[in-house]
Symmetry: C2
Subunit: 177 residues, 2 copies
């Protein structure tokens, strides 16, 4: 019996990691999921930090609810430093946690989870520069390619995107809505 | 009686904030101080995040001691995210704290202070995205242009560079060596 198509919200702002964004988007789509780019505003393009990728915004973050999506995914780069300053993204993360929508974050992505107070007591991996911030936020930092703890899955870098995407798809299918 | 020329170490890696770097360097030099660029390696150029400034490295960080300088200054941008991953920069920061050499950090610069465990119990300002990281590290975050607490002076952004430089120069002159 075919399941409904998964809708994966990819949360970005200016300066996302081009490769992580491109790889996760392609792998979600190859698995039959629909990727929806959630950014601050529609009607403009967002560029990767290396200037290799420009993407439009499918859904402006204001007014979104986690229930509109099967899962959220946050690429790394410099974008998480911007996302964490916007209440609408933090509200979306907290809504996802409260409603058991899986959340994934790669590289610097866990910075957004820190600002949403979603780290405490969880096992988390990330880009090494922010490991101390994860620990100071009450997280248990580990240096492993992909870590799942409850509804949150984290990964370190571009090399980890394959198993990261698989984990999110597995969680999104399991938590049937 | 003329005092010896101050030597200000400006700590950078790739992706520093072009404007903060240029403004502080110019203002230190206008005040008669000598600016010394301390970066991971000599023999290569380091570029600002906006691609407007390229600078050579005067002194490779490995082998430096705080006593070689009158003060340390860390511009913001993406550079602090790299500096905080190199033990040699963290050792230099800790050596400066131990020997009462003033340290300044702007914008994302306090990320390096977090990694050097230099934040706890201190009043600190910074770029707002990392305010929660400063608080989680035991710092008292305040939103003010420039804050001095003991040997550490912090500022939020490019607009604060004037009083930031003045505070560092004042501290460097007071702590005579």
């Amino acid at each position: 019996m075919p399941s409904a198509q998964l809708r994966i919200a990819v949360l970005i702002d200016e300066g996302f990691d081009d490769d992580e964004f491109s790889a996760m988007s392609a792998q979600f789509e190859n698995a039959g999921a629909r990727v929806m780019i959630v950014a601050p505003f529609t009607g403009r393009l967002y560029s990767g930090r290396r200037g290799r990728v420009d993407t439009a915004c499918d859904v402006a973050v204001h007014g979104t609810r986690a229930a509109m999506f099967s899962a959220l995914a946050i690429p790394g780069g410099y974008s998480p430093d911007r996302l964490r300053m916007r209440h609408a993204f933090l509200d979306l993360i907290r809504d996802a946690l409260a409603t058991n929508i899986p959340i994934g974050a790669v590289g610097h992505g866990p910075q957004v989870l820190i600002s949403a107070n979603a780290i405490k007591g969880r096992t988390i991996t990330c880009w090494p520069s922010i490991a101390i911030d994860v620990k100071n936020a009450g997280g248990l930092y580990v240096d492993r390619p992909v870590v799942q703890d409850g509804g949150i899955v984290t990964a370190r870098k571009i090399d980890d995107i394959g198993p990261f995407v698989e984990a999110i798809l597995r969680m999104a299918h399991t938590d049937s809505r």
